[in-house]
Amino acid sequence: MSLNDLTSLDMLLEGEEAEVVMLVGGRGLVTRLAEMGITPGTRIRIVRRIGNRGPVEVYVRGSILALGWGIARKIMVKRVS
């Protein structure tokens, strides 16, 4: 995998699937995300994007999570085709 494949979650389109590669951010935030099931290696699918720069709804581990736009930017993923 080259670095070019890496993108942040907010860049994905609705319906796109990706695998979480890395979480960027403070220990508190990163832990919270991991506990909600967003751990490195997790498959994630964009269900809905609410407006430009709005929250992003993702399908992860069997349920839907809403992530603030600022948080989605801190989740680095690679697309899965």
Binding site: L23, R32, A34, E35, G51, P55, G62
Partner: protein
Amino acid sequence: MKMHRRSDRMNGRVAVRLALAGNANVGKSTLFNMLTGGSQHVGNWPGKTVEKAEGYVRFGHYIIYVIDLPGSYSLSAYSEEEVIVREYLLMEKPDVIVNVVDATALERNLYLTFQLLELEKPMVLALNFMDEAEKKGIKIDVELLSKLIGIPVIPCIAAKGVGLIDILEKSLQIAREGVKPNPPIYGSEVEEAIANLLVEMRDLPIPEAYPRRWVAIRILEGDSIVEKMVASLGGSKVLRLAESLRRRLEESHGEPSSVVIASERYSLIGRISSQVQTIKTPEKRRIVDIIDDVTSRPPTGIPFLILTLSLLISSMFFMGGLLSSIIEYALNPTIAIVEDLIRLLPAWVKPTLIGMMDGFIASLTLVIPYILPFYIILFILEDSGYLPRVSLLLDRYMHRMGLHGRALLPLLLGFTCNVPACIGCRIIESERGRIITSILVLLIPCTARSIVILGLVGHYIGVHAALAIYVFEVMLVFLTGLVLDRIITGEKLALVMEIPPLRIPNSNIVIRKTWFRLREYLIIVVPMLTLGSGMVGFMDAIGVSRMLAEILDGFMKIAFGLPGFTAIPLIFGFLRKELALVMLSQAAGVEDLSMVLTYKQMITFTLITVVYIPCLATFLSLAREQGLRRALESSLLTMVLAFLVGVASNIILSFLL
């Protein structure tokens, strides 16, 4: 409840304590309501603003005391709710934990289950929403799941009462036998670190309430609360070892140890759920999916929200007004008799008694009619899963005030009456959000204040002026929110929220929940308001209010350009804001207020009335919800605001009018 306990002992019933734990939106409170029925009592956790619900159920020889712990996704002590759940389970040691799990989202739910298992307390798992899981094409091998996690698993449909007896029977059996589950075993790397720590912890006098393995895992994850406890027990060597083990984990994974361990839990959970669960997604797009899309996407979602809100507000006003007049009509004969009786009493007790009666009537005719429709509508919205979608739609705007979309509901309720709005602030997830919202609620013009706005400004100046005051108020609320967001400290929870599936609300549950809240209001809030109003009446009788009015006379003139007599209605406004208008005519000695007040003075007076300290009833509810200190601080803040607004209005309007 205590009385019941005594009589039950005499009947030879054995008491068992059962704690319900689970994620938010898993039907935990529905299960609680179905189990405990009318016995429940809703209050706050001591020193917290998180709701605490307790109740009991008689079952065979047993009386089972049920506590509904706040919904939480982990036990890592990030939020107030998580701290409460963890402290309760460790320190209060319930006889059995019932972990309520949403069968449609097994993987996510099992995360909390695993953290609960780490506590090594007697536990059963209630697998709820079995019917919905089936509709979604999810099949779960209940027996295999039970075997793999080592505790009984009971499938149930809480809203329909399916499986409740099984839950109680299994819980009692587990409680009786005191079977403690085996904690989950993780990968060798983490297990090795835990083993190392346990050896070092050998001589540490850890209180019995804390399982040693749990303590080891927590300090490996960097839990500051547990670290502090270990340090206080003289475990500095243990902490140093934990630090180096943590660093080793972090170096090999490139992530904080807490993330490494969370990943361990999830990978174990992933293996288990792929073994016990088969998912066959239905091909047809279901109607709920379409509704979900319509309500969630801004182009359709925003109009839908506006429609819902207008319906909500108008039905609250309509149902409230209707109920209010019905209750008043029903009460009138009694009031007349009581008034006659009071007239017979000596003069010195009259004001106190009249005050008490006014307070009692107001709490029945002004507050109940609005709180009742509010709760019904709130619980319908809550049960349907619509609220999180509102939060998402409005997130960007509410964010500016440090709030999430949820806070919109109590704010809207504030337009009817601030008392239920203060109580309604409980629905907000974070402590900080509750503080900000409850202050903003105080600035929302309630029905009583609308009477002043419409009766003074609207009546004498015109509807456009009254409308302008409403617009000003909404702006003031938003600006205050912006400022509060900057000055109030506390953790700002980033938006990571589970969006539950849309569900058809269960009318039975909605009615039950509403009735229990209303009952609590009748028992606690009504007497409180009655006594409080009596006290103000008493203070008025001994001349305290008149004295204050005289002191304030000069102040009113200099600060606001208002005649001295306006001080008296402002003081009485504390009792009930709509009284301010009546008192204004009385104090001025004229019916037509345009003879004694200019437009500028009317607007200034109205603005001050609308903004300054909440009425007594609101103050008391706020004190009950947030504590006396916060209630005083918030009131002081509104007084400062009212002062500034009054002064500004006096100066600015001098140029305009």
